[in-house]
Amino acid sequence: MTAVLTGTPVPRAAGKPRLTRWVLRLHRPALYAWAGLLVALTALLLGLRGPLADAAAEGWRQYNSCTGTARCSYDQDAIVRYKDYYNYATVALNALPMLVAGWAGAALVGRELESGTALLAWTQGTSPARWLAVRLAVPAIAVAAGAALLSWLHHLAWSAGRGRIDTAKDWYDRFTFYAGGPTAVVLALAGLAAGVLAGLVLRRTLPALLVGMTVTAALRGVTEIALPHLWPAVTRVSTTDQVPLGAGLGVDEGVITRSGARTPVPACHTEAQCRAAYADITGRWSTYHPYSHHWPLQLTTSALVLAVAALLALGSFLALRHSTGAPRTTEKATA
């Protein structure tokens, strides 16, 4: 690629402007860094799915077969190693949208506007809108493809430990949830759009980096709050002498009184208080999402985030149009 690009300029008689190759050339370091990160995380996730999960599962098997008093030997290192590496991979996937937002705000757009190279690009043979479209589309493809691969591998790695490793995270652990599904992909895309918009509006590298990351983190926070309400939850009822029913992503829970009314869990501090408070209670209820809701919740959250990403991208085009002002000029010149 380098040899082609550094060759002597050759006049081209006709054809379309080639913007894509120049986005790739200008952001080659970022492309290489992304490729490196993909390779490293792929290796880590494949390891987690295979040997690391197997070793940890064997450790737990040994531990669980230990009998009370006898000296117990089990592979604790394997268990700890699996847990640590799983956390590294999960944190990396959770941080990805913020990373993309910071890069998009700073390097992709903010720096171009700050240093004025955007003006250079906008005064070539292509329109600013095209410049922006390519700067959104090319990274979006790279980010979406990479994040899709990583989140799929993460889901496989998580599935490999499920039921075999006692310390494996539940599906509703929020970091696991946002790492192992389409939400990871769409949040990264939303981060890209947020960074681009921040860069276009603020026109400076550092503020765009910070605002892009903050907006993306806020979007993630909002989806976490909304998550339990994005799919109809189920309610289970149990009597007081049963263990509470329903393990999953909890939405709400409470107690059932003798009259059948569902109320929140009463607060009590002393034994006498509690005895009085629970005297009238016959059972418990809990509203939650069972594991079968994992994919519906992933998909509804993804749709929501994708809609926000589309709005942010639309906002970028409007911000660009506002600053370069093509339509207003057209209107007046043709009038």
């Binding site: 300029p9 913007l19 050339r25 200008l26 070539q124 043979g125 207003r328």
Partner: protein
């Protein structure tokens, strides 16, 4: 009607921010094609804003600007622009920068012209832009703009970073370009001397308004520098741009409305004197060209 105008502004105005912060206001002029036009004015006069409006990089707040008979956006492929700080991608080499120019201007890229401009500066094509001096960067930026073979070339303070030799040489390249292809060149500067020999048209911008617009020869012919006794009379019939009393002598720059009385000695003003007199006296009536001419 406007097909022979390279650049035309009608009541053009640009305000930054919400407050009454006008960079340019009520700006009307018409620049015929094939001219080499100097946009002169002090720092902050609105020269860069005017060029950015013409290049379609910013939207007018009021009025309109017409470029090569169409909108700045539609004229984009036919207009070359070099911004004041000569932005270039620092991570690219000189050769890559020109290659990018070829790729982004596929219909009308002239590699030979671009390479000629770069070659004049003895630049290594493999040198990264970030390693170049200010003057060398100017050369690459100009090569990129000229290689586009534009019909209108907008240059914002193009020669500021160049030593006199390079300035002379590059100006020669630009003039040859203008002569060969009939390119209209608009270049801004606050140094009048660097433009006087090459330009035939003047736009004097001061305080966000057009103070003078027209062919330099006609503008010079429309003004007189006069000297006389401090108590002499008879200037009232003419437009006095500037007058100054030193001792018993009064000198003035006027726009004569008719014959001058015999008490006055008249001289042809230099372009420098004309420009300075108008800039020092923002209250003097402007002489904008009739835009419908």
């Amino acid at each position: 009607m406007s097909s022979d105008a390279a650049l035309r502004a009608d009541a053009l105005g640009k305000r930054f921010g919400r407050r009454e912060n006008w960079a340019l206001r009520d700006c009307s002029f018409r620049l015929p094609t094939g001219r080499v036009c100097a946009v002169v004015g002090p720092n902050g006069a609105g020269k860069s804003t005017l060029l950015a409006l013409a290049a379609g990089l910013t939207a007018p707040t009021e009025g309109s600007v017409t470029v090569l008979g169409t909108t700045p956006a539609a004229a984009r492929p036919r207009v070359g622009f070099v911004a004041q700080d000569k932005p270039l991608y620092p991570q690219l080499t000189v050769a890559e920068t020109l290659r990018m120019g070829a790729d982004l201007n596929p219909e009308h890229w002239d590699a030979a012209v671009a390479e000629e401009v770069v070659a004049g500066g003895d630049l290594n094509p493999k040198a990264r832009i970030r390693s170049l001096s200010g003057g060398q960067r100017t050369r690459v930026a100009l090569a990129l703009a000229v290689g586009k073979r534009p019909e209108l070339l907008l240059l914002d303070e193009p020669m500021a970073d160049l030593d006199p030799l390079a300035r002379h040489e590059l100006m020669g390249t630009l003039m040859a370009q203008a002569a060969q292809y009939g390119t209209t060149i608009v270049m801004s500067s606050h140094v009048v001397a660097e433009l006087e020999d090459s330009c035939d048209h003047l736009l004097l911008v001061g305080g966000g308004r057009i103070r003078l617009a027209g062919e330099i020869d006609e503008l010079l012919a429309a003004h007189l520098r006069v000297a006389g006794a401090a108590d002499a009379t008879g200037l009232g019939a003419h437009t006095v741009v500037e007058s100054k009393v030193t001792g018993r002598q009064l000198t003035a720059l006027i726009r004569p409305a008719g014959p001058l009385s015999g008490e006055w000695r008249a001289f042809a003003p230099s372009l420098d004197e004309l420009i300075l007199a108008h800039l020092r006296n923002p209250g003097a009536p402007a002489l904008p060209e009739r835009s419908a001419a």
